[in-house]
């Protein structure tokens, strides 16, 4: 069975957005520096900050919701990879007194590149958002767009009916 074609809300244009909306959208991406602000090298802090920021801005305009949602979900894989690195490093420290294996070195280097790429894309998207522009990440951009801009049919509450007990 073919899925009925989806309808989407129109995209807001830069001149229709207020400075407050643009700033709020930009803030979502900058949550990737939250761990730096707190001074703890725990990658989960960035994700928690992104989640808190998304939920505090959830009732804001679609433009803000799109950017904060995209910033939040795009942090998930990197946070997971960073958390693995922290756990691995702790294991090396506890079990082998800092005998660093080549596998760990390779993983850490790959992760450093991934973090750098994420920071670069984060800054680009923060600048775009501050100018009132849309910016779509690979995979996550589509997901965020679907989540925020899809027009959903209104759920009409059904009148409650009393039923006899189930046997």
């Amino acid at each position: 069975m073919m899925e009925a074609s989806k309808a989407y809300h129109p995209l807001p244009q830069p001149e229709e957005l207020t400075n407050k909306e643009k700033d709020d959208a930009m803030g979502g991406y900058l949550m990737m520096f939250a761990a730096l602000a707190v001074g703890l090298p725990l990658p989960i802090i960035n994700l928690i900050a992104s989640i808190v920021y998304y939920y505090t801005n959830k009732t804001n305009s679609r433009f803000v919701r799109f950017h904060t949602y995209q910033a939040m979900i795009s942090q998930l894989p990197l946070t997971l990879l960073n958390a693995i690195c922290v756990a691995w490093a702790l294991r090396i420290f506890v079990a082998t007194s800092w005998y660093i294996t080549p596998e760990f070195t390779g993983y850490a280097m790959m992760l450093a590149v991934a973090n750098l790429v994420y920071i670069i894309f984060g800054i680009i998207s923060a600048i775009k958002a501050s100018k009132g522009r849309m910016y779509y990440y690979w995979i996550f951009g589509r997901m965020a767009y679907e989540k925020v801009f899809t027009i959903r049919p209104e759920i009409v509450p059904q009148p409650a009916t009393n039923q006899p007990p189930r046997i």
Binding site: D24, A37, V52
Partner: protein, 167 residues
């Protein structure tokens, strides 16, 4: 105080991110600014109760309101980036040393007065007016220093706690 700790942690993250936003755009994001003002209001209404300056129990959360204490801060449309950098690198020299030094001794004296006032309230039911004024001015002075050091205004705080227009 426990809830305030987490809210202050969030305020620290927002302040850190705001610093970078001001550096690049020259503007404090309004949502972040409003949150910081609410946190200051919460801190003032809590301190006012701790010092017995007003009766009643302070409302919880940044969104709480209070009829007995008030703080109005004008949102700055633009902030100086030069002042921002000056504060970051030399703030300790021209904010912390002069204001911090005086406020430290003022707070110590405030604690002594608070002890004396506690007995005065117990026996007379009134807070001695001159002591009350002193405590309020200390709070006001500290709040102005906070506003300046948190980059929420470019106006250097005066060396007194009197109301603007009554200096």
């Amino acid at each position: 105080m426990f809830i305030m700790l987490f809210c202050n942690l969030w305020a620290t993250i927002l302040a850190f991110i705001s610093w970078w936003i001001i550096l690049f755009t020259g503007r404090y994001p309004q949502t972040f600014f409003d949150y910081q003002v609410k946190m200051l209001r919460w801190s003032i209404r809590l301190n006012a109760r701790i010092y017995n300056l007003v009766d009643g129990y302070p409302a919880f959360m940044p969104s709480g309101s209070d009829d007995l204490t008030q703080l109005e801060v004008t949102y700055p449309e633009s902030l100086s980036r030069g002042t921002l950098l000056l504060r970051a690198f030399f703030g300790w020299l021209y904010i912390l040393i002069p204001h911090g030094f005086i406020l430290y001794f003022r707070t110590l004296w405030g604690l002594v007065l608070n002890f004396v006032a506690w007995w005065a309230i117990l026996f007379t039911g009134r807070y001695p007016e001159s002591m009350h004024v002193f405590q309020v001015e200390t709070l006001r002075w500290g709040t102005r220093v906070s506003l300046y050091s948190k980059n929420m205004t470019d106006n250097y705080p005066p060396f007194n706690g009197r109301e603007y227009g009554r200096e």
